[in-house]
Amino acid sequence: MKILLKNIEEPDYTGSIQDYRRKGGYTAVSKAIKEMTPEEIVEEVKKSGIRGRGGAGFPAGVKWGFLPKNTDKPIYLICNADEGEPGTFKDRIIIEKDPHLLLEGIIITSYAIKSHQAYIYIRGEFVYGANRLNSAIREAAEAGYIGKDILGSGYNLDIQIHRGAGGYICGEETALLESLEGKRGWPRIKPPFPAVEGAFRCPTIVNNVETLANIPFIINNGGESYAEIGVKNSTGTKLFCLSGHINKPGIYEFPLGISLRSLIYEHGGGIKNNNKLKGVIPGGSSMPVLASDEIDVSMDFDSLANIGSALGSAGVIVMDETVDMVDVSLNVAKFYAHESCGQCTPCREGMPWMRDIISRIKDGKGKKEDIDTLLDITYNIEGKTICPFGEAGAWPIRAFVNKFREDFEKHIN
């Protein structure tokens, strides 16, 4: 069951508009704009149960429903293509290999939320991706799918690529809005939520690339069909990203609910050099690591949350027995220390503090109390910041310490 990689996995597929249409592309946008009302489209997406694919897993249809019903202000759609969660590389493959799938999803969504201006906020480093999308936008505009009076319906839509310039935090939706507006990527306090007051103080929806790429399927086949794939509360397929000490790294599309063990051993080819698994991060570096005896878990939002971790972006990072979790923790702590936007004291001060403690431990200069201090810092960051970056940096360190305490203690004696 392939929704997102259906075209990409065909050997000679180039991603051109001709190839895309030959494979049935742009029939959904025609159906949506000519045969459905915006409200009907929102209903289908709600029925599909699709949850955001960027990392937070918020139901997309519900988010769209937060928009004000009557407003004089322009409504904006923003496609979040600021893919930067370590371990995640799935949006890039859609952008580079099947850009029209994303564009069709954006056009339908814009129509559904009554937006006439969409922005694709793409991370600055994806230069090739931005160029690819710009070509695809030109192709789609020439074919009449973007611009004025789309398919003779009277509906107008402009899609503009907005390149970022580095900074993981700009993937957080409110930081993205600040960056779009030409400022530092400093997250905003919520409420107000973007649906009420977003870009330029207007109602705005921000959706991830992968979320939007699912919309054509939902329109073509109906929300209920989509909801039959996957498991309860985690419907549809997901692009799983395998990296680290795995024999076959790459992107794998499966219905949500596949077991992590199966992903690693059956599809990912198992651990390199036949080594033993030590730990695996299931959803990008912001999500708590799982020990080797925790991999018989269903890869879905609720199951992973129930064991104290999260599906996140489904960036699965595999680590074998040769790894010292102190090194891993240090790498992760350095990342969050570097990427902290600096607004909130617990995060701005706490992330580098954790990095420095772990660094000291690694150099053999750690003290017994350091491990508990690390845990204490995580509790003083969590819940005390403007945005979830605080949790994103705190949870991983807590999990590394709790599940691999011996690795830390080893350096202290």
Binding site: G87, E125, A165, Y168, G185, S243, S285
Partner: protein
């Protein structure tokens, strides 16, 4: 120093897609970096006037973003990813190898101003780790042989 006519036209086209001029700050700074190589104090003064904003405010914004360069770098900016998956797959060795080959440390530029080496965070290509970006292009599944090939190609240009 000022934008060429062509760049000014490009900017006007970009601006037409935004409701306010300030939203075009990032596109304007990208254009400036493409045209001038890096964003010096002089260019910030020019851009601030161009964008109708205070230089201090603009500098505040620019300094947030890692891709905007305040100093000149070598012709080829080698950005090696050092975040988790790349690190697990040997990014440290890649960095050491390049340091040795070019005889520079991280954050330094070769005397002939050809190469600058920096470490960056996750480039979003973890499945093909270790990875580096040189100027606009990604180089994936790196090995010492591949690095030799890539550096030779640029050295001979």
């Amino acid at each position: 120093m000022e934008f060429s006519q062509e760049t000014k036209q490009k900017f006007q086209e970009i601006l037409s897609h935004y409701p306010v001029k300030t939203a075009a700050v990032l596109p304007a700074v990208h254009l400036a970096q493409e045209e001038f190589g890096h964003i010096s104090e002089e260019i910030i003064e020019y851009l601030a006037k161009f964008m109708d904003m205070s230089p201090v405010f603009l500098k505040n914004t620019i300094s947030f973003y890692t891709m905007f360069k305040g100093k000149e770098t070598g012709k080829y900016l080698i950005q090696v990813c050092s975040t988790l998956s790349c690190s697990l797959m040997g990014a440290g060795n890649i960095i050491d190898y390049i340091k040795e080959k070019l005889n520079i440390d991280v954050w330094e530029t070769t005397p002939d101003k050809k190469f600058t080496l920096v470490k960056v965070e996750c480039l979003g290509s973890c499945g093909t780790a270790p990875v580096m970006q040189i100027n606009d292009d990604y180089y994936e599944n790196l090995t010492e042989e591949k690095i030799d090939e890539i550096l030779n190609k640029f050295t001979n240009k």
